[in-house]
Assembly symmetry: C2
């Protein structure tokens, strides 16, 4: 852990902390909910696979009865595919994700847009735009917001051809302000020379905010994220800029890291609460 | 290997192919030179550590007598450091690199600018700008060009805070057109939504062009590059755009890959010559 060298900015409101469920990836939804309740975390962001595991009705009931608020559902997207039939199937699955979000009380579906299926990144980007256009009316009618999450460029081939905040915002701005926006994740965006100007430009379209850290050496690619304070990301500065742009909603801690997954989840949650106060 | 789906663009001139020495990382400079001569590759880009291994005078003589042309020297840069004394030491080492480039007949020193030494990416970027400003007169007087190479954003923490072509170009444009420019490497740049507009904008400032490929899954981070044609990069389209922007110089094949390093170098060179014709 490094010292936090940002001064003059207050720590974030503890009531905004949300546990993105993948941070404790070996626990079921029931276990994750239980942990949040016990440790006083007010928000949770469940993943679809963990909802399917216990069934949508039971998951919705569990979340309702827990008193927790749901910050988002992870995740929809993955629009590009080789054939029109496959792309239609993806839209169908995204509609199902919208229904699930509505059922569990999540106001937001996070979109990881999908990679380049072949050597044609422009084509894949068009498929993403077409996919969101096809999904948007369905989401709007059900009151679910769509959050385009730009991923780090190291995922451009296999997970998201949307790789910068500016690009995600250009796409979101084609749609109504109430329905399509962006999800800003510091791990994906911290390197961008245009980060702060694009955060300003994103005012009114920021639907979600995710935090973790970038340690050197990176512990992996997909599972390459670290505990808050263990890396080089200026978490507090970015959080303050996001707040200045008008976003005052939940702050999801989303860490994909094998070592953290192998640790006792109680300890992970306790650590991230403390680090959130110190670094976020 | 995937099929090349770009049509209507001629293959590149074989006489432009340059072997970046790190592609056959287990060979000495003598072995690399010998291999190029035997297989009819006209250009080579040596690395400093391989020059130091045999001594500068001997390296210069070897290259001169081989008849090969030197496309660039790899590499200078790494400007950010914690203290002013350390930063001055880095400038000193870069001046030494300029001298070495002059001695071996390399017209270009490639700059890998350095990462963020602490949680302050803006500060590191300023150190890079200051470092290039300190180095530029020395290089100009000796007729050596400086090529700022933007690295993939996954290297922002430890290798280069300069991560996009647009950002590298903004920096280069502060200096005289003849001395400071950019080196475009497809592995670092292929994901950028602004790639083609920035290539157009870079006309007159493109000092070097590097190729390799991005395979899925990525075989590593530092050694994450693949043989031409084994990944998703639109090599031919990018090469054509670079050419349209006026760059007609050597095309360096620079592949960092453990499996390729473990292969017989003769076979590697034969494969890359064929793949260069088919994909670049």
């Amino acid at each position: 852990m490094r010292e936090n060298n940002v001064s003059g900015i207050s720590p974030p409101d503890p009531a905004r902390l949300s546990l993105n469920q993948i941070t404790i990836n070996h626990q079921t939804l029931l276990e994750a909910v239980d942990l949040c309740v016990k440790q006083g975390v007010k928000w949770i962001a469940p993943w679809r696979n963990r909802i399917h595991e216990i069934g949508l009705t039971r998951a919705a009931q569990l979340l309702r009865e827990s008193g927790l608020r749901v910050s988002s559902l992870c995740r929809g997207g993955f629009f590009p595919a080789a054939t029109a039939a496959q792309r239609l199937e993806r839209i169908g699955d995204n509609r199902k994700a919208v229904d699930e979000a509505a059922e569990i009380g999540a106001p937001l579906l996070v979109l990881v847009c999908g990679g380049a299926p072949d050597r044609d990144i422009d084509g894949a980007r068009q498929m993403v735009a077409d996919g969101i256009a096809a999904l948007e009316p369905y989401a709007r009618e059900r009151g679910i917001r769509l959050g385009i999450e730009p991923l780090h460029p190291m995922f451009a081939a296999d997970r998201s051809v949307i790789v910068t905040l500016g690009q995600a915002l250009d796409l979101a701005l084609r749609f109504e302000a109430g329905t399509v926006g962006i999800v800003a994740d510091v791990f994906h965006l911290w390197w961008d020379p245009e980060l702060y100007s694009q955060i300003d430009r994103a005012a009114g379209r920021i639907f979600g905010f995710h935090i973790s850290d970038w340690a050197v050496p990176l512990p992996g690619i997909l599972a390459g994220r670290s505990m808050l304070g263990d890396g080089v990301i200026e978490l507090r500065r970015i959080r303050a800029a996001i707040q200045t742009a008008g976003y005052l909603g939940p702050i999801e801690v989303e860490i994909l890291n094998e070592q953290i997954w192998a640790s006792p989840p109680e300890a992970t949650l306790a650590t991230l609460k403390a680090r959130y106060q110190e670094f976020a």
